[in-house]
């Protein structure tokens, strides 16, 4: 049934002239004086899993509800497959939504819940039974078809909600924090299930979440939101390794942020002196900024090497410190290293060897931190 999965996922946003399947055009939503969504424009391509990522109150849920039709935009328009759906009510849009609370109809069985959407379209009975059965098989819930929602566990309800929202083969599926109510193990399992189902059916997903891990796992592209605006759009790699601002760098994962100023600015490298660091960053990429400008350097904890001996090439990209805290997480250890200037740097190391018999770095030891010139990222805002 399935085609052989392509070696690499297609990246339609990179193709010049590619036509977006979903287009948000300067969408704004105001509640009185409060601007929940501020002039958002997005292009989402067919078959993508697009994640809107942001903290509480950033406007991502409002944006999702506008796409579903539950909120009318104050200005702007929404286009799906070339049609302006802005004024179309939710029951006439080719869009379905999976609610955070699942919103399963408590007085109907699993089967009736999933069949609900098809009944509204007056699909003939036999076809309904077939499609409902297919969908229940896809989410492994066939044997619970006769049960009512209150007789199901949280994970089972989530699968029913998913089946119900996909049975009509919508052009766009909106998911509101789909994994928020699940425990960690179930969440990890369901993340991949979700991707499999999406690839099998080819439906375009837009997922709203505040959980970075969820976004990084599910998304083909992420849109980071803050205060109603889209701050950056990119693949998980783009967002993580090439943050465009301090906000994004700080929001995704952990980061060490150092303030400094440019002392050398060449097309293929820059050098940034940072008093916080007590040293100089030699960064292997160019930056567009004024000479001597104040910039910030973002350095991810896993990119830093920690050792007792000083690195061979002293100078740029290394600094001395003392270990002040250690957190052992099993798969990795987090070190907090205090630099001479008083600043604390977060370093993570995978525990590639088992604990016993290994002479591990311990508290209050003097250590050297070093990193590649490709590791730091300079951000100018």
């Amino acid at each position: 049934m399935t085609n052989a999965r392509p070696a690499q996922r297609s990246e339609p946003w990179k193709e010049p002239g590619a036509v977006p399947y979903v287009r948000l055009d300067k969408l704004t939503k105001k509640f009185g004086d409060f601007v929940a969504v501020d002039d958002v424009s997005l292009q989402i391509f067919r078959g993508e899993i697009f994640c809107l990522l942001g903290g509480s109150g950033c406007g991502k849920t409002t944006l999702l509800r506008m796409m579903a039709g539950f909120e009318q935009p104050t200005s702007g328009s929404i286009w799906i497959d070339g049609v302006d759906v802005t004024a179309i009510p939710p029951y006439e849009r080719p869009v379905n939504m999976m609610f955070q609370s699942y919103a399963l109809f408590p007085h109907m069985s699993v089967e009736q819940n999933v069949a609900f959407g098809l009944r509204q379209d007056r699909v003939p009975g036999r076809e309904i039974a077939e499609r409902v059965g297919e969908m229940l098989d896809l989410v492994h819930m066939r044997q619970f078809a006769g049960r009512k929602p209150h007789q199901l566990s949280g994970g089972q309800r989530q699968r029913v909600a998913l089946a119900r929202s996909l049975v009509k083969r919508p052009k766009l599926l909106l998911l509101d924090e789909p994994l928020a109510a699940l425990d960690k193990k179930l969440r990890q399992y369901t993340q991949f299930e979700l991707i499999n189902i999406q690839e099998t059916l080819g439906v375009t997903f837009v997922v709203v979440t505040h959980d970075q891990e969820e976004a990084m796992t599910l998304a083909s592209r992420i849109g980071v939101m803050n205060h109603g605006e889209i701050v950056q759009v990119g693949t998980p790699t783009d967002i993580y390794e090439y943050p465009g601002s301090r906000f994004v760098a700080d929001f995704i994962g952990s980061v060490n942020m150092f303030e400094g100023h440019l002392i050398e600015d060449e097309p293929d490298y820059v050098r940034v002196a940072s008093a916080e660091l007590g040293g100089v960053f030699h960064v292997g990429h160019g930056v567009s900024a004024a000479p001597n400008a104040t910039v910030w350097v973002a350095l991810r904890p896993e990119k830093i090497r920690i050792s007792r001996e000083p690195p061979d090439s002293k100078g740029d990209n290394c600094v001395a410190g003392v270990v002040s805290e250690i957190a052992y997480l099993g798969d990795q250890s987090i070190y907090l290293v205090r630099l001479e200037g008083g600043r604390q740097v977060r370093v993570t190391q995978p525990n590639t060897l088992r604990h016993t018999g290994v002479d591990r770095i311990s508290w209050d030891e003097p250590v050297w931190l070093s990193w590649d010139s490709s590791s730091p990222v300079v951000v100018t805002q």
Partner: protein, 284 residues
């Protein structure tokens, strides 16, 4: 302890009425024959007279009165539902700060005497009452519309008096309704009207049944409203009972009327119990 109250205030009076209903009629005090007479110090004679119940069955007056009571109560219940549901829905959907005030306004009439409120309707409906005077002074009508002493007045009185009993359980049920269910229905292609009947009504069904029973059960035995507002032909069982008791001084028949009415209401009462029990069961 609760059983003691139940025994004292419910079981004992019920048994007294039951006892009188199977006694023979007698002039004098008390106006019924004793159930148990001691013939000798060791033998007692128990006389259970079922003639009263047979009498009820045979005389068309009583059958009509029962039928009319049930019909009137049923129609009033439906009217209360049609008026009360939009009211309850409106209150449940307003801003939370307004809801308590609106509920208070629904309850406020109970702070005044029920009898006075029914009398007030007489003043409004009578031939030279409020409505007729207003319509005649405007010039819409020449002759007063006869509204008092009609079935219309009885329905009006019952619906007016019992509406809060319908609104409050409905409000409770509607307020609990999860709005995201209606959004989910819309999202899946269901238009608002259809969503009302496929989602809202089934999920507020407990409130509908509770409200209906709370109106229907007392309305069947209603006496004051048909006595004051109704005509001689809108005979309801409450009035029949009154007349048997006070005009005919026939306590046994009156008691039989009461017991029979209770039997008629057993089914609705059981429905109410069942629905309330289920609501408690699904509360978490």
């Amino acid at each position: 302890m609760p059983y003691l109250w139940l025994l004292l205030f419910f079981a004992v009076p019920f048994l007294i009425v039951l006892k009188i209903s199977v006694s023979g009629m007698r002039l004098g005090m008390p106006p019924y024959e004793p159930l148990i007479t001691w013939i000798t110090s060791q033998a007692m004679d128990i006389k259970i007279n079922l003639a009263n119940y047979a009498f009820l069955w045979e005389d068309a007056l009583y059958r009509n009165a029962y039928g009319n009571s049930i019909l009137t109560a049923a129609v009033s219940t439906i009217l209360c539902l049609l008026i009360g549901y939009p009211m309850a829905y409106g209150i449940a959907r307003t801003r939370p700060s307004w809801r308590n005030l609106l509920l208070l306004m629904v309850m406020l009439p109970f702070w005044t005497s029920f009898l006075l409120r029914v009398y007030a309707w007489i003043g409004i409906l009578k031939n030279n009452g409020l409505i007729n005077n207003l319509l005649m002074s405007i010039g819409i009508i020449d002759e007063p519309i006869v509204m008092l002493q009609t079935d219309f007045a009885v329905y009006l009185g019952i619906v007016y008096s019992y509406l809060p009993f319908m609104v409050l359980p409905l409000y409770t049920a509607i307020e609990k309704l999860d709005l995201s269910l209606l959004e989910a229905a819309a999202d899946l292609g269901c238009r608002p009207m259809k969503a009302f009947f496929t989602i809202t009504v089934p999920l507020t069904w407990g409130g509908i049944v509770a409200g209906s029973m709370l109106v229907f059960i007392p309305a069947v035995g209603e006496f004051v409203i048909p006595a004051l507002l109704g005509g001689p032909d809108s005979l309801m069982i409450g009035r029949v009972l009154w007349e048997e008791f006070f005009n005919n001084r026939d306590w046994p028949v009156a008691s039989a009327v009461a017991i029979a009415m209770l039997l008629v209401l057993v089914v609705p009462i059981m429905i109410l119990q069942h629905v309330q029990g289920r609501q408690l069961g699904t509360h978490r």
